[in-house]
Symmetry: C2
């Protein structure tokens, strides 16, 4: 498998299946791990980083979870490939920015991935479609067990897993759920919901990662605190919160339907009509229209498009994806044309 | 034939055929005639009006041109029917406003119509699809000949045909051509063109008649002066002017294609997509979108819609038409929904 093979498929987490997949796009667990007695990446010399990389690479190759995985040295990737992996939610901007001694391991269907020598020696990520944080955690835990059996992780009885940034110390786990909340946005209840989430010490981010604004009415909600609770407790807390948000979004959707179904249908069908007919379209407009179409699919208003297609488009319409698909560099104007053509093909052809 | 039969068809002038029908929707000739020794309608008593009406009705019934025509007493029509006939370009608001002693005669396919006791005793209108003012004039002239052989029209050797308003005296003829000028509007040349038209003593009106603003990029251009030239001379003058406007619109369309075909295509396809998908739509938005789709059809960009369908929609999406089609009164909100449904049906079903 090479990086170009990624274009032919999309991640399992975009399948649009699983519990509450009408509202929850995906569940994600991330573990931070560091090798004992090795400097954290930000303090490590190049030689240290390369030794760590080599050690982790060898270990990964021996573990069943990573069968048929792809191993990518970031320094060997060009800018489009790096951007492509960021767009795919497989690695961070930081990981791409200073590539020395860094690598990325990605399992088939992108369920499991590991950034090596990002902020920590290992950033293990597991993603699953739908509201499925328990299973996501189980996979992450078993990967951690397998790695722990071969690697000596930095761990303190008092503090838990040691990490480069103290906010991660403890479980070094972040669980997050990507929610599609168009009705809470439309009914202007979203800020109230986000304020409550923030008060409960959970973080909310946009679809396109840390530091991004919410777009397409997607909100990624995750725990802020890693210390003081077991992983299971943290997962249960997130689950409880997410169930409430899902309930509120469901109620807001029903309220929208009751109050003015014709206007909602009009907005949804128009969005679909624009996506099916535009010949030039920006990312921003695309994401807004896709959000409406996704809501239309989830409410049974749009019947000839499936959720997976829409989910995948949120990823595929990004700049590096368009350039990988086209097989060459594209200007912003060319991308707007290619994006429109791709959408027409995907939404019409099914 | 009854007024309800009109719904099943539309006028010949909407067929989208004839010379330059990519730019010229229709050609129209209107003649004003008054019976000699009778007061003009604005000075006539009710009894006079009824005698005039009766005389004209009898005469019309004897003339071949009016075979299978429908004769409608305005006082017998309800408000929706009156509005319906106005929307169809068959009679004026003035004719509907004060219905006493007034009538309307309409021939099959709406090629020929006569308002009886509007501003003048007879307002004879002939409409044809495309740029076809010569043929339109020939039909009007032969109708006039036939009527003249049976009616004594008020005529002065010195002044020509006498009319209630002196601006019509002389030929009492108005020739007009309905032009679709989206490229001149888009390239912001339209005001220059309209200024030149005005300087040459021609008038410019909107699609929806006298006093209406240009909408859907339609401009109806007609002669202002009725006196001092023969009918043929007036027609030739209009023809000459219209040929120039057509040439300018053609050049503007080519310029748009050369400068930015993708952006033009995007706008056209998006317009078509919105019309095919909207579930609630205002008249104003409809007319703007239809104009873009008509341009798309005329440039060969849209291939699965025909010009006749688009032309007809400009008429059918009006309030009274929607209510006649639905067979009942509709609120503004209901009309916006019905309009969208009608458009989807017409543009999708072909």
């Amino acid at each position: 498998m090479t990086i170009d093979d990624f274009i032919k498929n999309t991640g399992q987490w975009l399948k649009g299946t699983g519990e509450h997949s009408n509202i929850v796009m995906s569940s994600r667990v991330r573990l931070a791990r560091n090798l004992a007695k090795r400097p954290f990446p930000n303090k490590a010399r190049k030689k240290d980083l390369e030794e760590i990389l080599s050690t982790v690479h060898e270990t990964v190759n021996e573990i069943e979870h990573f069968k048929d995985s792809i191993f990518l040295k970031i320094s060997e990737l060009d800018n489009i490939d790096k951007q492509f992996l960021i767009e795919r939610h497989l690695m961070s901007h930081e990981h791409a920015a200073n590539p020395d001694g860094k690598a990325l391991v990605v399992s088939p269907e992108e369920v499991l991935s590991v950034m090596i020598n990002e902020e920590d020696h290992l950033r293990i990520q597991v993603m699953q479609s739908g509201f499925n944080l328990d299973e996501t955690w189980r996979i992450a835990d078993s990967v951690d067990d397998a790695l722990s059996s071969k690697l000596d992780f930095a761990y303190s009885i008092q503090w838990g897993y040691l990490t480069a940034c103290p906010t991660n110390t403890g479980t070094a786990m972040r669980g997050s759920v990507m929610l599609h909340l168009p009705a809470l946005v439309t009914t202007k209840q979203i800020n109230k919901v986000l304020a409550a989430i923030s008060k409960l010490n959970f973080a909310s981010r946009g679809f396109y990662g840390e530091g991004t604004q919410a777009s397409g009415n997607f909100y990624q909600i995750s725990n802020q605190v890693s210390m003081g609770h077991s992983e299971q407790e943290v997962i249960q807390n997130i689950n409880g919160l997410i169930r409430q948000v899902i309930e509120q979004e469901e109620q807001a959707r029903q309220a929208l339907l009751l109050q003015n179904k014709p206007m909602l249908e009009d907005k949804i069908f128009r969005s679909c009509g624009l996506l099916r007919n535009a010949h030039i379209i920006s990312s921003q407009e695309t994401v807004e229209l896709l959000s409406m179409v996704r809501l239309g699919v989830d409410l049974g208003i749009i019947k000839d498009v499936d959720r997976k297609t829409i989910n995948e488009l949120f990823i595929m319409i990004q700049p590096a994806h368009l350039q990988k698909i086209e097989g060459k560099k594209l200007t912003a104007t060319e991308r707007d044309t290619k994006r429109a053509a791709l959408i027409r093909q995907k939404i019409d052809g099914g």
